[in-house]
Amino acid sequence: MVEQNDDRAFVERIAKPLRADAPLAADFMSRLDAAVRADARAARRAHHERDATPPWWRRRVTVQLSLSPIVGLALAAGLATVAVLGAVALRAPGGAGAAVSPTAPPVATALAPVRTDTVHIVRFVFIAPGAASVALVGDFNNWQRTATLLRHTGSDGIWTVSVPMSRGVHQYAFVINGTQWVADPAAGTTVTDDFGTTTSVVTVGSGASS
């Protein structure tokens, strides 16, 4: 007991000076403000450049819409240059629902050679009975919670949205009712970033480098 008290007293003695405030430099916030503004300007410029690029439906692109690998195969037989729509199956949070398409892996698979100008339409499905809204956030929409809202299909709390995506590896998650962030429990790959946020990974297009 004496030893424990002694330890506590020692820790308290050395922790006390360390708990004192450590002031920031007087110009710290103005430097941070300048850096943030410069970053915001750069982001706006990049955004304008993106806007200046014709939207995908005005570019020469090939888009295939299909709902299952079997249908995709049938279509691929007739259309040599099409890519496949990947269906991402998700379960309701807390295991309240079944996967919509458990046989489909959470990866958008290409059945035909992918051209660089191919736009892949990826369908996201989420089961959330009782949700007022479900949003899809990801690196493809700058993680904006209002950019890509899922549509309620009217049955069994199924929400869906189809999103044009470029070939590559993308991170995504769902936001329920504007606040509850949910990674895809059915996704084959999830990652936790430096910020402690867990997201799911979808690979669009065959041979996309990961």
Binding site: A20, D21, L24, R31, D39, V137, N142, T179, F195, G196
Partner: protein
């Protein structure tokens, strides 16, 4: 005083009102600054690490999952930035020379006032492994529970307890060893 919640400020920043970001950071900067300064042992290094951490947080703000827990999210970014900064710091030799000088001075003159006490403890703290220093600061300076520490660092609770214990033992060895020697010298 700005009475808006963190969540409201985040929404405002994401809506393009970048001024609100410094309001948000200022609100939570005290703990981040204290931690970075103690962890890195230098106000200049802390300044650099914090600028980098806060800018990274700005860029990732849309990915802040629980906006009402922005403080914990920001602290995690600061902690990671300090880890990275400490790992790549190449001034170790210079710091050790400085530490030796301070320790020598302490032998002759144990800390008399608060600033000197802080310098003495910081000097010993700098000599700990980064993982021990991190655990000690979070537990005994930031006063976090082991559960909070685990969530923040991604390290298991039992490993954290062991690190805190080892940090305390090493600090005692460094500080009381110095004092004993000083007493004998005096």
């Amino acid at each position: 005083m700005d009475l808006r919640t963190d969540s409201t400020l985040i929404a405002s920043v994401l809506d393009g009102h970048v001024d609100d970001y410094t309001v948000l950071v200022r609100r939570h900067s005290a703990r981040c600054t204290r931690y970075a300064t103690r962890m890195l042992g230098s106000a200049d290094d802390a300044d650099e690490a914090l600028q980098s951490a806060f800018l990274r947080a700005y860029r990732a703000l849309a990915r802040c999952r629980d906006r009402e827990r922005f403080d914990a999210w920001l602290m995690r970014i600061v902690l990671n930035e300090c880890r990275t900064f400490a790992a790549r710091r190449t001034r170790r030799e210079r710091r050790l020379v400085r530490d030796e000088l301070v320790l020598t001075r302490l032998v002759a003159a144990p800390a008399q006032d608060e600033a000197a006490a802080l310098g003495e403890v910081q000097c010993a703290l700098d000599r700990l492994d980064a993982s021990l220093r991190e655990a000690f600061l979070l537990k005994h300076v930031e006063d976090l529970s082991y559960e909070e520490m685990s969530a923040l660092t991604g390290v298991g609770i039992s490993a954290l307890k062991m690190r805190v214990k080892r940090a305390c033992a090493r600090l005692r060895e460094l500080l009381e060893g110095v004092r004993t020697t000083g007493g004998r010298t005096a």
